[in-house]
């Protein structure tokens, strides 16, 4: 395992420094939130590390390809290193054009609950990144009087409060290259930002174009109203 992820540990160098400075956990917020939000690339890179080291053991994200990581700021060499470290089912290594690996978990391993594909989970579950964060940090001991289903874990955030996914994040489950302290909540927030990017890779661009379009059409509207009034006034 170590060998596979060695190239990953070099990630984040490009953005190291400023990432550590900002505390997004108290209160919890994401740079991607809100109408003008954009993907926090440093957080999403760290989130990818969490995904690749922890979540990918059970979850695929097959709408993503290793080459897509370029959008998060990885160099071609880094991406190639990431892909080369992934072993596909037939034993060969992944390439830049492979989709994020499907570990093909049998549903029977989790009492019939198949780990869902994570490509668009942030768009699909109400609450998006906030929900994923709450889910990953929401494990607790079941309160008295709650009978747990076999193979399930008590989780405040999950609808029905009993989830088949074990608590997988713990402090220092990964080591961040940019020096950010890998607490459990930091890992959860980072992977939530990563999954937000996965579900909506063009979020930043979309908001940028949108802002310009709104300014442009508001301006055009004002000009159109003025000219309309002038034309109608002068005509009669």
């Amino acid at each position: 395992m170590r060998r596979f992820f060695a190239p990953l540990l070099a990630l984040g160098l490009a953005v190291a420094g400023n990432a550590r400075a900002e505390d997004t956990l108290s209160p919890l917020h994401f740079q991607s939130d809100g109408p003008l939000g954009s993907i926090d690339k440093a957080a999403a890179q760290r989130g990818f590390l969490v995904y690749q080291t922890v979540c990918a053991a059970c979850h695929s994200a097959n709408a993503l390809h290793y080459r897509d990581l370029e959008a998060l700021g990885l160099t071609p060499d880094q991406m190639a290193g990431v892909a080369a470290g992934v072993k596909l089912a037939d034993g060969s290594a992944a390439t830049l054009d492979s989709p994020f690996k499907d570990p093909a978990m049998p549903a029977s391993a989790f009492g019939g609950a198949l780990p869902p594909d994570l490509s668009s989970i942030a768009a699909q579950r109400p609450g998006g990144a906030q929900y994923i964060y709450a889910l990953l940090t929401g494990y607790a001991t079941a309160p008295d009087g709650v009978t747990m289903l076999p193979g399930h874990f008590y989780n405040k955030a999950f609808p029905g409060e009993q989830v088949a996914m074990p608590p997988v994040l713990r402090d220092n489950a990964v080591t961040y290259a940019d020096g950010t302290a890998a607490t459990q909540s930091q890992e959860a927030a980072d992977v939530a930002e990563f999954l937000t990017w996965a579900a909506d890779p063009n979020l930043s661009t979309r908001h940028q174009i949108g802002l310009r379009a709104v300014i442009f059409f508001a301006f055009l509207g004002i000009v159109a109203v003025i000219s309309k009034r002038r034309i109608w006034r002068e005509g009669r």
């Binding site: 109408p35 768009a123 979309r206 908001h207 379009a213 709104v214 059409f217 509207g221 034309i231 005509g235």
Partner: protein
């Protein structure tokens, strides 16, 4: 006449038509709704063409993902097309509602009104087909239910359904539905064109010497309407590209799990509510057909006569009807509480009660 217009006669005719001072000077901004609808339909056709080039009905969900992720600016075209559908229904619903409020459906406007309802009906079908083409979890189940329902019918209806869907929903179904989606969209344009022709025939003309020409007066008005529309469209397309779309549709279809929550785009929800309120497949079909039929019959259900007073009470009831339709949509969207079925029945009852009982009585009384 300039040389150009002499050499190209149709240009001369166009100029003469645009510059003829025949329009009444008090045109309203909302009169531009059909024009905006036409522009938007053209825009949807263009964006749809781009999507169709890359779309693969045999791997619908994967190809939608491919367009969004791999095709250059594919995500942008998808956002345009999806938001275009939302905006289109916004325009059409607003247009019809305004005609109800101003009672523009009365003679001589019955034909225009009927074509407006027909346009909405065709667009609803086109919208549903487009939604089904996404191949997501919600789309899959909607198609599954519709095709199973259609095939379970006996007689001619079953035969038509069987031909339309080509058998139980399978991987080939979407290939034919893609075709219907495109052809019916062109059909909607034809209906809109008829609507324009019918409207031109009945719209009152200005007295000689009192009128204004389209150019530049109404062109200036159109530009304002277009700019405002484009502004609203940009907000929707760039900041909420999935507005009114069921979130479960972001997931691939799983034939073993029925999705929970809202499963249809917003513009189909009121009709879906009526269909769900009535029992059985036939109940659903009759509900939908009946709901559209009473709407189309409005000019004849209104007993006030062409020049009758525009009563205030009936206007209030029209607003209540709007609230009722919104209520239908909201209830159909969130069916997760026990009273939902009862509410749907009540809202459906009120819808038909409004048209079949209230409309004739209230308008007849108010016209006295």
């Amino acid at each position: 006449m300039t040389t150009e217009t002499k050499q190209i006669p149709c240009l001369g005719a166009l100029c003469a038509c645009l510059c003829a001072p025949v329009h009444k000077p008090e045109g309203k901004y909302l009169d531009t709704l059909p024009g905006l609808t036409a522009i938007l339909l053209a825009f949807l056709t263009l964006s749809g063409l781009v999507l169709a080039v890359y779309y693969d009905p045999w791997h619908a969900f994967a190809s939608v993902g491919f367009i969004g992720h791999e095709v250059n600016n594919g995500w942008l075209v998808q956002a345009y097309h999806a938001t275009g559908a939302t905006a289109l229904f916004g325009l059409v619903y607003l247009y019809l509602f305004r005609a109800m409020l101003t009672r523009g459906y009365r003679a001589p406007g019955e034909l225009v009104w009927g074509l407006g309802v027909k346009l909405m009906a065709v667009l609803l079908l086109v919208g549903w087909l487009g939604f089904v083409l996404t191949g997501g979890a919600a789309a899959y189940w909607s198609l599954f239910k519709a095709s199973n329902g259609a095939l379970a019918l006996s007689g001619a209806a079953g035969a038509i359904g069987g031909w339309f869907f080509g058998g139980p929903a399978g991987s080939g179904t979407l290939a034919r539905l893609e075709l219907f989606h495109a052809v019916l969209a062109v059909g909607a344009m034809a209906v809109l064109w008829l609507l324009f022709a019918a409207r031109r025939a009945v719209v009152p003309r200005a007295e000689p010497g009192q009128g204004v020409a389209f150019f530049p007066y109404y062109l200036a008005q159109y530009l304002v309407a277009l700019a405002v529309f484009a502004l609203i469209f940009s907000v929707l397309a760039f900041f909420t590209p999935h507005l009114g779309q069921p979130a479960v549709n972001a997931l691939p279809a799983d034939p073993l799990t029925l999705p929970l929550g809202t499963v249809l785009p917003w513009y189909l929800l009121p009709l879906a509510g009526i269909a769900q309120a009535l029992p059985g497949i036939w109940g659903g079909i009759l509900g939908v057909v009946g709901a559209l039929a009473v709407l189309a019959a409005l000019p004849w259900l209104d007993r006030s006569g062409p020049a009758g007073a525009k009563g205030g009470l009936y206007c209030v009831f029209t607003w209540v009807l709007a609230a009722d339709v919104i209520g239908l949509g909201i209830t159909a969207a969130a069916r997760n509480y026990p009273q939902a079925s009862l509410l749907l029945v009540l809202f459906t009852f009120w819808y038909f009660f409004h048209f079949l009982v209230l409309t004739p009585f209230v308008t007849a009384i108010e016209a006295k």
